[in-house]
């Protein structure tokens, strides 16, 4: 009895996979791709029009654009080394090791 039930569940799962995959393929081939998928996807948190700031985390292509953590405003107005030669960002040469 249990085996029979399990076989029915497996059949149900496989037919579901076939049905869902067929729908996904059909949607992909039509212009309604995004609409169909998004309708079942749930609530939207971050959309493609407004990427999260961390989309450039670990990449340098956003450097200077203020959009990611490697160049963002975390140190805004706190850059106490500016112009003092304390760090390499002002173009100063490294002091000679003694």
């Amino acid at each position: 009895m249990k085996n029979q039930l399990n076989a029915m569940l497996l059949t149900a799962a496989l037919s579901g996979l076939i049905g869902g995959t067929t729908v996904a393929h059909a949607a992909a081939a039509s212009s309604s791709k995004t609409t169909v998928k998004a309708a079942k996807a749930g609530l939207q948190y971050v959309n493609a029009d407004k990427p999260a700031k961390h989309s450039c985390k670990g990449k340098n292509d956003c450097k200077g654009q203020g959009g990611c953590k490697s160049s963002d405003n975390g140190c805004k107005a706190k850059n106490s080394c500016k112009g003092k030669g304390g760090c390499a960002t002002d173009g100063s040469k490294m002091p000679k090791a003694i």
Partner: protein
């Protein structure tokens, strides 16, 4: 003065240790290193002074920039958690967390990966909202994972035709399964969306003290199962039924298909006669969303 016998590696370790030492409450470098050495001696051991700054002051610049950057990075990924526990507690927790789990990755994207477990082990940072805070942190971390984790090719019809009860499947890497004690998903979404408008519109009110935890709608404990995932570069989340959550989790854990189904339906609390229909619905939806993949053969080879 540079220590005559320090190797490059020793200098790097000394500097990393100093730079990663938490700042004082006034955002200054501590006067003593972790091992009790005066920090001005530590600084002088590998940084020369210049005409305007002492060795201590030069090292302090890097110490500050490190902490400003990592604290900012962490706060960016957990805005709802900050609101729930309050800025003051969030800042204290962040310093303790980053001190305990400094970033070991090439990218700050991974900085918050252990924050939920840290909160479980250190509930005092969240006070009376400790359980709620853990749930919020779990959801916010799931959003980070869903945002940029890999996407694989879903199962094809040809692959489905070969499946049997003992077949192993895999889930999309960007699909995140989250089990929480409170239904905080809507709250987190409101708090995130509320960043661009007055938070009172979202039903959340701040005290006069901006550092205090926000006043939140009453939330009753209710086990909730969530999926965070990505569709066309957008992150979505949806609530799952208990049974589908457990089936998906069993698939991810590597259980054979038949066992994974059983793991879910036995928790679904529906009559046996309705289970096939339920299972069919689950797998239809998952396939439409592209959640089910073939096993990651590379992974199997690596772990073999």
């Amino acid at each position: 003065m540079t220590h005559p016998t320090m190797s490059l590696e020793e200098i790097q370790r000394e500097m990393a240790s100093a730079v990663m030492t938490p700042l004082t409450a006034d955002d200054e470098m501590r006067k003593e290193s972790r091992n009790g050495r005066p920090m001005d001696h530590v600084a002088a051991s590998f940084i020369a002074p210049n005409s305007r700054l002492t060795s201590f002051e030069r090292l302090e610049i890097y110490n500050r920039q490190y902490w400003y950057r990592v604290l900012n990075a962490l706060g960016e990924d957990f805005p709802a958690l900050r609101t729930v526990i309050g800025s003051r507690a969030f800042d204290a927790m962040s310093v303790a967390y980053i001190d305990a789990h400094p970033n070991r990755s090439f990218t700050l994207r991974n900085l918050g990966s252990r924050l939920p477990e840290f909160l479980v082990a250190n509930p005092h940072f969240a006070g009376r909202r400790a359980d709620l805070a853990v749930d919020v942190a779990r959801i916010e971390w799931a959003f980070v994972e869903a945002f940029d984790s890999a996407e694989r090719e879903p199962l094809t019809l040809e692959q489905i035709a070969t499946l049997e009860g003992d077949s192993h499947l895999a889930l999309q890497p960007h699909l995140q399964l989250v089990e929480v004690e409170y239904p905080v998903d809507d709250l987190v979404l409101k708090l995130h969306k509320g960043e661009e408008r007055q938070t009172t519109e979202a039903g959340i009110k701040h005290d006069e003290d901006e550092n205090a935890p926000a006043k939140l709608p009453v939330l009753r404990r209710k086990p909730t199962w969530l999926a965070a995932h990505r569709v066309d570069y957008s992150v979505f989340y949806l609530r799952l039924k208990r049974g589908e959550f457990h089936t998906l989790r069993a698939i991810r854990a590597g259980q054979p298909l038949a066992e994974a189904i059983e793991a879910g339906v036995t928790t679904a609390r529906v009559p046996a006669a309705r289970r096939p229909q339920l299972v069919r619905q689950w797998f239809t939806t998952w396939a439409e969303l592209g959640w089910i993949c073939a096993p990651d053969l590379d992974k199997l080879v690596r772990t073999a």
